[in-house]
Amino acid sequence: MGIVIEIPSALKQYVNNQDEVEVQASSVEEAFESLCADYAELKPNLFDDNGKVRNFINVYLNDDDIRYSEGMSSSVEDGDCIQIVPSIAGGRCAA
């Protein structure tokens, strides 16, 4: 069992239309590195040029925003769930 990353419908097109992707990692950062290594097109949609999570996307680790824990260096263990939640407004969306 690894770390489950839940993908919002707005970004599914970059991960072969999967709802979730399972990765092996010990931190949120590692989890995203692993995810983006397999799905390179996803990366610019999640991170800006400085590697910071884009402002219209929130990342939740087990239902709490990583901004208020250790951010990308928050540690994760098997069974944890990382949720990507983009800003949506009716018909228009992040991607």
């Binding site: 419908s9 040029d49 239902d63 709490d64 925003d65 208020y68 949720q83 939640v85």
Partner: protein
């Protein structure tokens, strides 16, 4: 049906605020996924650095929201600057041109789900989301006639082709939607 479910949750929360009863959805973001039929809740905290309600707000009155929302991804290369009018053809002109030009290649740059709704006979599907002039198999010597839904995406594809050295390019003004109005009344609009 999605807006029905979401709108009624919104209504429920409003009634609870009015009744001042129950536990309101403050500080909690409810995520609903109809395909998984899952409700999930994540915590939303007050951001001490919030530009509006934080400790040192920079937004102290209403601002220019159009400017605030005018954000662009730093794309790889911006579209080239051309006089678009020189490439536009009205639906009737477009129809005549493809009928009379033996080297005409008709290209639809919409996505497949749109192609499945309706299309112009003889077109090739090359969706803009995956469009690459170098690998699309089009011949730079032929005349390329492009269309999409309303005419904007096909103009982006046209500019890509222009940059790649194609010269005989035309765009269907108003896209297949205007085509359905002015040329082919049997074509459904969506």
């Amino acid at each position: 049906m999605l807006p029905g479910v979401v709108g009624l949750i919104q209504a429920t929360e409003i009634i609870k605020l009015i009744l001042e009863d129950g536990i309101p959805l403050i500080g909690r973001l409810l995520l609903y996924d109809a395909m998984k039929m899952k409700f999930k809740e994540v915590r939303v905290r007050k951001d001490p650095e919030c530009a509006l309600c934080g400790e040192h707000p920079s937004v102290t009155e209403l601002v220019d929201y159009q400017a605030f929302c005018d954000i662009h991804l730093p794309g790889p290369v911006p579209p080239i600057d051309i006089n678009e009018d020189l490439y536009e053809l009205s639906p009737q002109e477009f129809k005549t041109a493809i009928e009379q030009d033996p080297s005409a290649v008709l290209v639809d740059v919409r996505e497949r789900f749109e192609w499945d709704i309706c299309r112009i006979d003889g077109a090739r599907l090359l969706p803009l989301s995956k469009f690459d002039p170098d690998t699309c198999g089009l011949d730079p010597e032929s005349s390329i006639y492009l269309y999409c839904y309303m005419g904007k995406r096909s103009m982006l594809a046209l500019k890509e082709l222009k940059r790649a050295g194609f010269n005989n390019l035309k765009n269907l003004t108003g896209g297949i939607d205007l085509w359905a109005v002015e040329v082919d009344s049997d074509m459904p609009r969506y």
